[in-house]
């Protein structure tokens, strides 16, 4: 309305503003923080990062469903557990064998790097974040600081701040310029014991280099709140295949920040079957022309499990390509959430963005909430998304049954082929058969009960 032009005009009302933040929750997650600091003092710049993170957590708490991107996910179950950070002496939990064909593996237990359980690969720099901080801080520092700034434009990144507050250990993998690592490297992340852990993973693939990673997240208890920072240089190539098969008593939240250069290629595929509550959040910044970014995933969950995938792809330069394919099966009381957003900046002409989310509900009590978003400021783009929610198609089921295939087998075949579109994208054969095996077990169990 027009500005006040009359003297008898009274003051406009002041409307109450309801804050979406819950600073009162900060105490829960910062419980025992003083102990943590005395146990693990850090160098000055890490100390600054910790303080900044802590200050923000104290101010804003941890995310509540009042925040738009947390609308469908409530962290209350995690708050209820009142996990504390514990910095243990060296732990030796029972860990599975290495995947077939893998020679080197890096292991973290409760967020702490375990050299005795790791075999260092050759041809690249890698190791624990802590050792890198102690020896080589100048190189590392910009990666840990600047990427966070870019993500801080969002007001709901308190889990990332929490991770910074507890910054201590994690994994660093650095592939130098023009180095091609032929062998796949495995990362094993184990949750052991009812504690919270906040590891940071930094993966830097320099210009012209290439790398393939496999990762498994396993464990029975606890909460891992991690931050992955992925940097793919010009003309570099990175494939990451991950499985998260935690027990249904564990919790998993992560923030992945991806920065890609010119002509780079990234594929990140995540299979989720575990955790009582899990949230995978990705922010990908395509900062060079002709970058290609694939973020795919499957989620197969049951009982009272909750899984949330939240993606934001920022197309900042022309000629980039991004693709997201996410497929899921929800059984019993499971709840799935998919929030994907493609943001095309005005400069990013000739963008090609695609996003697909298909979910099959296997029971009437399962719930799927989908929010595929497009935000487009450039006119010469090709962007589309599709989302479906439904049940297994009766037609093919009838076809198979009429040919003597039992119903349970027919259903399994259909579910396998449904997820197959994503699983087939795994180019590492060993990892692919491992993933198929996990899905196989899951599908066998889901129809039994």
């Amino acid at each position: 309305m027009a500005q006040a032009d009359r003297k008898d005009n009274v003051e406009p009302f002041v409307f109450p503003v309801k804050s979406p933040y819950k600073p009162e929750n900060a105490d829960i997650v910062l419980n025992g923080y003083a102990d943590f600091l005395t146990q693990d003092p850090a160098s000055s710049w890490v100390e600054t990062l910790r303080q900044q993170g802590k200050a923000r957590v104290e101010e804003f708490g941890i995310p509540s469903p009042k925040l738009e991107r947390w609308k469908y996910t409530n962290l209350f179950p995690i708050e209820k557990e009142r996990f504390k950070v514990q910095l243990p002496a060296i732990l030796n939990p029972s860990i599975p064998d290495k995947l077939d064909g893998i020679e080197s593996r890096l292991t973290i237990v409760n967020g702490i790097f375990q050299p005795q359980l790791s075999d260092m690969p050759e041809g690249l720099y890698c190791g624990s974040l802590k050792s890198f901080i102690e020896s080589n801080d100048d190189w590392l520092r910009p990666y840990l600081e600047s990427q966070d700034e870019r993500v801080r434009q969002f007001d709901d990144q308190m889990l990332m701040d929490l991770n910074a507050a507890y910054m201590s250990d994690g994994i660093v993998i650095h592939v130098p310029k023009n180095v091609h690592i032929e062998n796949t490297i495995e990362i094993l992340s184990v949750l052991a014991g009812p504690v919270s852990s906040h590891p940071a993973i930094l993966i830097v693939v320099e210009d012209g280099a290439s790398l393939t990673l496999c990762e498994r997240v396993i464990g029975d208890f606890g909460w891992q709140n991690r931050v992955n920072r992925v940097h793919v240089g010009s003309n570099a190539r990175l494939n990451i295949f991950r499985t998260q098969t935690l027990s249904d008593k564990a919790y998993f939240t992560e923030n992945t920040v991806v920065v890609q250069g010119r002509d780079s290629y990234l594929q990140m595929l995540t299979m989720t079957t575990g955790a009582a509550l899990s949230r995978n959040q990705y922010h990908a910044f395509l900062k060079g022309e002709n970058g290609e970014c694939h973020i795919d995933g499957t989620y197969t969950i049951t009982d009272k499990q909750h899984h949330d995938t939240t993606i934001l792809i920022e197309h900042m330069e022309p000629h980039c390509y991004s693709n997201q394919t996410h497929k899921g099966l929800l059984a019993k009381n499971a709840r799935g959430v998919f929030q994907g957003k493609i943001h095309v900046h005005q400069k990013a002409q000739k963008t090609d963005g695609y996003q697909l989310n298909n979910t099959i509900l296997l029971s009437d009590t399962a719930e799927m909430d989908t929010k595929p978003e497009l935000e487009i400021y450039a006119d010469d783009v090709k962007c589309s998304h599709g989302a479906t929610t439904g049940q297994l198609d009766d037609g093919p089921l009838f076809y198979m049954r009429s040919r003597g295939i039992p119903e349970s087998v027919a259903r399994k075949i259909m579910m396998q082929s449904f997820l197959g579109e994503v699983v087939d994208k795994i180019v590492d054969e060993n990892m692919k058969s491992y993933c198929e095996q996990i899905l196989d077990t899951w599908l066998d169990n889901v129809d039994k009960s």
Binding site: M1, A2, Q3, A4, D5, R6, D8, N9, V10, E11, P12, F13, F15, P16, V17, K18, E68, Q346, Q349, T359, L361, L362, S363, D364, T365, A366, E367, M368, D369, T370, K371, P372, E373, L374, E375, I376, Y377, A378, D379, D380, V381, K382, C383, S384, H385, G386, A387, T388, T389, G390, Q391
Partner: protein, 490 residues
């Protein structure tokens, strides 16, 4: 199509950008500026309203004071100063609608100029039979000035009058249904409307009646610094059918004016309501100065089995559009439809979409949304499809397409899809693209000018929705589409 296309091209050439932008010089009666309980009592007294309605208004007003401003929309605007507006403005000559002969000739002239003849005789004497005529309720600022064809409609048992009259003549009906679909505390703008609504249309179609003609309301904001708050209530009883159309225009002014309307539709068993909107409020000038803030709450409920509600909207005007016509599909087998074309040019902003709430079994909904963005405009589709656990075999199909013209505008899609029933099928598709070079080349090669070619292609893009409009308005809408995009090329 070819006829209409030729017309479109002609229109682009001949017409001014906003032909409804003139102002009628007429003596007005205004309430004092500002908003407080006295103003609400003043409005209520002016309308000679019963006590319960005044109470309801005051309850809404007190609640409104406590509500925060909604900020979730993708809208960039200065905060509203609710005290700097008149909440009641009526032409002095009009003390409530009366017979057409007594209506101020200046008002009739205004509507004539807008292409809405209010004289029944002329239409009756025309070539067209009465079957094709359209009954019009004309709302001028805060009051309804005339309603045509009332007698003829009465014969069929249809009640079509302004809501102020309905409050007086059919208080039971109004009391039963007012606020039943959009409760006063629904959202801030609906709440304000509940407190200060001045006029609007009331339609009641009795059991088994197929309304004999199209009903329509024509809203006109004329006075400076006024807000228009109208309330429309349409009830289709068992097996009834009605098609209703609303149109809106306002003069060109540098100030932003607020228009906060509430529309409630109730469809009983086997009933069908078709609601079409051609919204052409003044969109502001090329620098984004002035224009109407169009904050509208529209919702319909399919109360009974096999009922159907269909929303069709063509949104070309308004500086800011904030509007989500919704359907609550409560009755089994009920159907909800939403067809929308939203065109933004200059500095216009549109945040529009729908909500489909599936509650009953076998409910179906269909959403077709076409957003066209040019100049510096932003166009957002925001929608919700919600399948409740009891909605067995519910089906939804959603398609939102956006077309970008120029590289300074934005197109956004924000769909929320919540599925809680495994037998439900929900499909969603969205695309964003620009006018392809091939299409342009094809037209240009055949001697069609650039602007005409764009108008042609855009009309094709939006055709799926435009076809859903009643015949008379489809042509009108096509012209509007072309005009709205004028100046966006080159």
């Amino acid at each position: 199509m070819s006829n209409a296309t030729a017309e479109t091209i002609e229109t682009v050439k001949s017409l001014d950008k906003y032909e409804a932008g003139f102002e009628t010089d007429i003596e007005m009666e205004m309430a004092p500026k500002g908003l407080n309980e006295d103003i609400i009592r003043f409005i209520s007294a002016k309308k000679e309203e019963p006590e319960w309605l005044l109470e309801w208004r005051l309850k809404a007003y007190r609640h409104w004071l406590k509500m925060p401003e909604p900020h979730w929309g993708k809208i960039n605007m200065k905060p509203l100063n609710y005290q700097d507006a008149y909440y009641y403005a009526a032409p002095k000559s009009s003390n409530g609608p009366k017979s057409l002969d007594e209506v101020d000739p200046k008002l009739l002239e205004t509507y004539e100029k807008l292409g809405i003849p209010l004289r029944e005789q002329e239409i009756l004497a025309g070539v067209q039979g009465t079957e094709n005529a359209v009954a019009v309720d004309a709302v001028f600022d805060s009051v309804s000035v005339a309603t045509t064809f009332r007698e003829k409609l009465k014969e069929a048992g249809v009640i079509f009058c302004s809501i102020s009259e309905a409050v007086r003549d059919y208080p039971q009906l109004v009391q039963k249904y007012l606020g039943s679909v959009v409760p006063f505390h629904d959202n801030k703008h609906a709440c304000l409307n509940s407190a200060v609504f001045t006029d609007g249309s009331f339609v009641y179609i009795p059991e088994g009646v197929h309304c004999p003609m199209e009903l329509s309301t024509y809203f006109r904001i004329n006075a400076i610094n006024t807000g228009q708050f109208e309330r429309t209530l349409i009830i289709a009883d068992k097996g009834a059918y009605v098609s209703y159309l609303e149109g809106c225009t306002a003069p060109m002014r540098d100030e932003n004016q607020l228009h906060a309307a509430v529309v409630e539709l109730i469809a009983h068993e086997e009933a069908e309501i078709k609601y079409s909107t051609v919204q052409n409020w003044y969109p502001g000038d090329e620098e984004g100065k002035g224009g109407i803030y169009n904050f509208v709450t529209k919702r319909g409920i399919c109360e009974g089995r096999n009922s159907k509600i269909s929303w069709t909207q063509v949104e070309t005007g308004s500086a800011i559009t904030w509007k989500y016509p919704s359907c609550i599909l409560k009755g089994d087998n009920s159907v909800g439809e939403f067809y929308s074309v939203a065109i933004t040019n200059g500095y216009q902003q549109a945040d529009t979409g729908t909500k489909m709430i599936h509650i009953g079994e076998n409910t179906r909904s269909r959403i077709i949304s076409k957003g066209i963005s040019a100049g510096h405009a932003d166009n957002t589709y925001r929608g919700l499809v919600k399948i409740q656990p009891g909605a067995k075999n519910a089906r939804n199909f959603t398609q939102c397409d956006s077309l970008l013209i120029g590289d300074l505008c934005g197109a956004h899609t924000v769909p929320y899809i919540e599925g809680k029933n495994s037998t439900a099928h929900i499909e969603h598709e969205a695309t964003t693209s620009k006018i392809s070079e091939d299409q342009m080349f094809y037209c240009r090669q055949r001697g069609i000018g650039e602007e005409e070619a764009v108008a042609l292609i855009v009309n094709g893009f939006a055709r799926e929705v435009l076809q859903k409009l009643p015949m008379e308005f489809a042509v009108e809408a096509q012209k509007l589409v072309a005009i709205s995009l004028e100046g966006s090329v080159g």
